[in-house]
Amino acid sequence: MDSVVRFRAAVCLLGRFPALAGVDLDVAAGEIVLLQGPNGAGKTTLLRACAGLVPITEGDADVLGVDLRADRRPVRPLVGLLGHQAGLYDDLTVAENVRFWSKAGRSQRSDADAALARLGLDGRLAEVPVAKLSAGQRRRTALAILVARRPRLWLLDEPHAALDQGGRDLVDGLMADAVAAGATVVFASHELDRAEAVAHRSVTVAGGTVSGLLPAPLAEVPVA
């Protein structure tokens, strides 16, 4: 099975709002796929749906061999999601956050320490409470947690946002490393120049549907 993500006419409701209105999407193993599209197009929801956080109410959705319609929980330990919010405890230090979350993800402490080093957080910053960090440093901390957990599918929502030049290069490096290690990456970005350079292909998300080069034309989606 080479398909990591396979969505067919997937509908996802946030309250009464159809954030995804019939998505067709295929991502093969080892790909880096860029989601582009205007704000509110459904990129964030698509990533969260892949992570098994939001329910798919219609259509088919299969991620890493898990049928999300049947039970979306088993996919969660297998993916790493970098969302708009970092998911950090403000009063704990950078190192404490990374260690807690990697322990919660069944990773070793050595993985956590290696991840801190990889993101350049092993120095003085490691002992600083997260509340005192800048937006970019929070982002790095969240990325360190992802690195420590070694997910099979990376789901990154605007990974370049709030980062400086060095940080952005680091993110691109992380994506390349992840794919080299056999993982798959799906990410959303507005910084198309940088993102298209690193992505293998890009798809456009609009109005809760996906259109792209491969393999699902919008025409297949029944438009009322």
Partner: protein
């Protein structure tokens, strides 16, 4: 590696409670805000009732547990405020942590905070109201059992209210009728412990124990769907 479900549940509980204690150590919200509030409640009771020690002394068991309930609401709100800020609750759902383990860990964290509050409140009623207990064993047993029940119910109702915009106002109305039996049993058991003979006190401890076991069991099974939807 095959692993017993109970083992991973307890280990996850330990991870969560360890994190919560570290959070308290760094932020000191309970020690510097909730604890003073609890003691303030004792002083306000004295203003409301009478400076006459006799009335306060007689009412000590009830006032003690009322102060515990009020501070408990703050402790629960604090315990789940840290889990809902900054998308942490998503991270919890995405983690490998057993939901039952998270429930027990949060309950243990709330329980430990409550015990600290209760010790301080006990010192408070002893000094301020001049109440001296006779049956220390009954007193300690009541505190431990009541705390377990309050912590279990608090952990459960805390996550129920956690994701809502109206959580601060909804939590008390959901929580207080449920823990009313703890208030009754705790007060009656304390009355016995402060009186000459501990008489009916142990019967009330039995009720507290049943309450705790029941809510721990409900929490272990019901926490998952609640965490999923909050």
């Amino acid at each position: 590696m095959p692993e017993l479900a109970a083992d991973s549940m307890l280990r996850d509980a330990a991870t969560v409670v360890g994190k919560d204690l570290r959070l308290e150590w760094r932020s000191r919200v309970t020690l510097s805000q909730i604890l003073p509030f609890a003691l303030l409640v004792l002083i306000l009771f004295a203003f409301a009732l009478d400076p006459d020690r006799r009335i306060l002394e007689e009412a000590t068991p009830g006032l003690f547990w009322l102060a515990v309930l009020f501070s408990m609401l703050l402790a629960i709100q604090r315990a789940y405020a840290v889990e809902t800020a900054d998308g942490v609750i998503d991270a919890l759902r995405l983690s490998d942590l057993d939901p039952a383990g998270i429930f027990l860990g949060k309950a243990a964290g709330i329980g430990l905070h409550l015990l600290v509050l209760e010790v301080a409140l006990f010192a408070g009623v002893t000094v301020l109201y001049g109440a001296t207990p006779r049956g220390y064993l009954l007193l300690v047993a009541t505190m431990l059992l009541a705390t377990a029940g309050l912590a279990a119910a608090g952990s459960l109702y805390g996550v129920l209210a956690a994701g809502l915009r109206v959580r601060d106002t909804l939590l008390p109305i959901l929580m207080l009728p449920v823990v009313a039996p703890v208030l009754i049993a705790g007060t009656e058991a304390f009355s016995a412990a402060y009186a000459e003979s501990s008489g009916d006190g142990w019967k009330w401890c039995g009720l507290l124990a049943a309450f705790s076991v029941l809510y721990l069991a409900i929490g272990i099974f019901a926490f998952e769907p609640l965490l999923e939807e909050s």
